[in-house]
Point group: C2
Chain length 417, copies 2
């Protein structure tokens, strides 16, 4: 177990969170829901305070030469504050996973066995610029009975501190224990302390780019749920309908390029007759195409692809294109280059669909549907804290049940072995 | 992703296992079951070969001055070989978790959503002397569609190699791909390679003592499922029946002292009138008692306890004893010293049972039942590869479903967002 004294930056906050977690795990749903509603009300009432803190962060970031796209993610306005308050209210409406009986039985010897959902305890979230994550993460953690240790970026520290002050004051008035939500210092070393705080922190979830996630995986001794990197493919089979292929590929690539469930590589069976038309549609939509020789032969707009293109999570209006000899070759490409997020096939052949579904090793396989559907909201799970691309614990959208563990409760009447 | 060239000791085996995993994930249950039955038959037929290799291992270990208890765990005989073959046949009878639909629904937009169990891929198992784990682990991994990378101890290497030769020959004749079961070299460095083989190895499960598990957690960048350390408590409430308390405490402590689900500490409410009798029963059964002042006042046989006793996983006929002021004090003690394995309460008060069940954070909570019941076989799950004491993925006995991940399969008809 980590000792608080070894953790100068986060130890006191983690110890408060640990103590809060022991109370939170026993709270009934209505107390948690009352606190979430009070937090939402407080955010709306105290919007001016939050915006004043945010204006200072934005000003400082602008003075540092921060790019406009990052400034936009950092900037709050009354509409954005109202939207995050609305997200807290939506959590009230979702079922509380804590106490759910996952399975249960009476054993032959009369023992009663129940596997019951329980909170993790203390959940650490490491994230980048967007201050809305502060509110979303706090809400998801509290609804699932966990204390939240939040480590946001330095550029948003003032905003995050204002948000957490509003949230914790409202939460404590509504009966949640102190320490339920703690904002950690934005020093670089605080991430390292969080990742090593075994015994104090039950799980860390990084939300951010590939570099952050790599650092977390390399350094963490605390269990981690990886989220976010999506090098997603759409495979167009020889049996695909031309119009359906065009619709699914365009939507997967262009509907929102900056998110992890957007497609980055198009794989096309060599017998697909409409490849030139498909590439024209992408080029007309403003997509820069990076292709192999066969793709370049099919359309003038295609520039040469290298291994870096197969590996790239572009998050931009770029797409790699490769023509494959058959479906197994598409599976080989995905096995070699995919990040295990979302892989789509467009096909009319049931045999092709079955082979693709069985052969792809990813959080989601989409059949005749856009990769963009891999999303907690789209799946009907309500809010999500990210999309897990690891195989342990939870794979795919992380909703409230995925923020819990389980305990076996075994009830006897003096049973011995 | 790890490159095979960076892993001189395990790279080739891991690459073979990776290739095998792509085939194993698609195999129907009857092929896997046929292979398990063939492996069981081959073990029985080729018992002499296995015993000859084992005799050399035992001889070498004895010459090295290995203690008798370790030699006993290393030694095989025809009965033990027959028993592990029987365990493989029991796996045939268990349901195949792969392909199970965990949840499914039709979304409002017509998309069909199914969450389906899939194998992890490549599972690494690191274990100590007992060669039977070689067979058990291979069988559990194959039944759940995973390739197994086995890293046993150096002292059992010859035995393990003979076992794996028998198993793989039978498995391949029955249609499993080469690489399905690989024995890794027993060099110390092979564990480090295994723990760092991200992208080649999907999960590592250490089976062994606290030192092994600590090393694995510290070094691993591959996801880990922790097993095994059990500092289990029995709390006797003021409302407990004397005879029931005596039966549960004695069974929890003395029925098998060397296993992780045996109890190590007895916590007794200060108002329990039968403490002297309970301590006498333990002392009469041969248990050495290490107690606080109140326990020492209750019985002459109690020697003084230190913090080391509260922390100890004795795995011997020793037990720590502490008298607590109330149930919250028992929960505080368990929170401070417990390993999150199994915690028992003996009580007649429903309020006490509810408070204990809600307040304990462990894989299993046992109410009026021995800690020894935390076991895959006792829970009716069939075989287990260990008992997880972590909160991510699986907590408690690890059976076949716990050796799988899931994939969301989303089927549309050209759906776009």
């Amino acid at each position: 177990m980590s000792e608080v004294t070894e953790l100068p930056l986060i130890g006191a906050a983690a110890a408060r969170a640990r103590a809060a977690a022991r109370v939170l795990r026993t709270l009934p749903t209505d107390v948690k829901d009352g606190a979430l509603a009070a937090m939402a009300d407080a955010l709306v009432e105290r919007t001016d305070e939050v915006l004043a803190a945010n204006a200072l962060d934005v000003e400082a970031a602008a003075a540092d030469g921060t790019p406009a796209s990052v400034l936009d993610r950092l900037r709050l306005d009354a509409g954005r504050v109202s939207a995050v308050a609305g997200a807290l209210r939506e959590l009230v409406a979702l079922p509380d996973p804590v106490g759910d009986v996952v399975r249960g039985s009476r054993l032959p010897n009369g023992l009663e066995l129940r596997q019951v959902r329980v909170p993790f305890g203390v959940v650490g979230i490491v994230y980048e610029a967007r201050p809305n994550v502060t509110v979303d993460a706090a809400g998801l953690c509290l609804k699932s009975g966990n204390a939240a240790l939040l480590r946001g970026s330095a550029s948003a520290y003032g905003t995050n501190a204002a948000l957490v002050a509003v949230l914790t004051e409202a939460a404590e008035k509504a009966g949640l224990p102190p320490g339920s939500v703690e904002l950690l210092p934005a020093d670089r070393a605080s991430v390292g302390e969080l990742l090593g705080a075994r015994g104090l922190v039950d799980v860390v979830i990084p939300r951010g780019g590939a570099l952050l996630i790599q650092r977390v995986v390399r350094e963490a001794t605390v269990p981690v749920i990886e989220t976010g990197v999506g090098n997603c493919h759409v495979y167009v089979d020889a049996s695909a309908d031309a119009a359906m292929a065009e619709a699914v590929v365009l939507n997967s690539k262009t509907s929102r390029v900056s998110v992890c469930n957007s497609a980055e590589t198009l794989l096309v069976h060599r017998d697909v007759p409409f490849l030139p038309r498909l590439l024209s549609a992408l080029a007309d939509a403003g997509v820069t195409l990076h292709g192999d020789d066969a793709a370049r032969a099919a359309h003038d707009a295609v520039v040469p692809a290298t291994d870096e293109d197969w590996a790239a999570e572009y998050l931009s209006m770029d797409m790699a294109v490769r023509v494959v000899d058959d479906l197994p070759a598409a599976l080989d490409h995905i096995e070699r280059w995919g990040s295990g997020h979302s892989e789509a096939i467009v096909a009319d052949s049931a045999r092709a669909v079955a082979a693709f579904t069985a052969g792809v090793d990813a959080a989601a396989v989409l059949v005749n549907a856009s990769t963009r559907f891999t999303d907690g909201g789209e799946f009907g799970f309500g809010a999500e804290i990210g999309i897990s691309t690891q195989k342990l614990h939870a794979r795919g959208p992380l909703g409230l049940p995925e923020l819990t563990s389980t305990t076996y409760v075994v009830t006897g009447s003096g049973h011995t072995r």
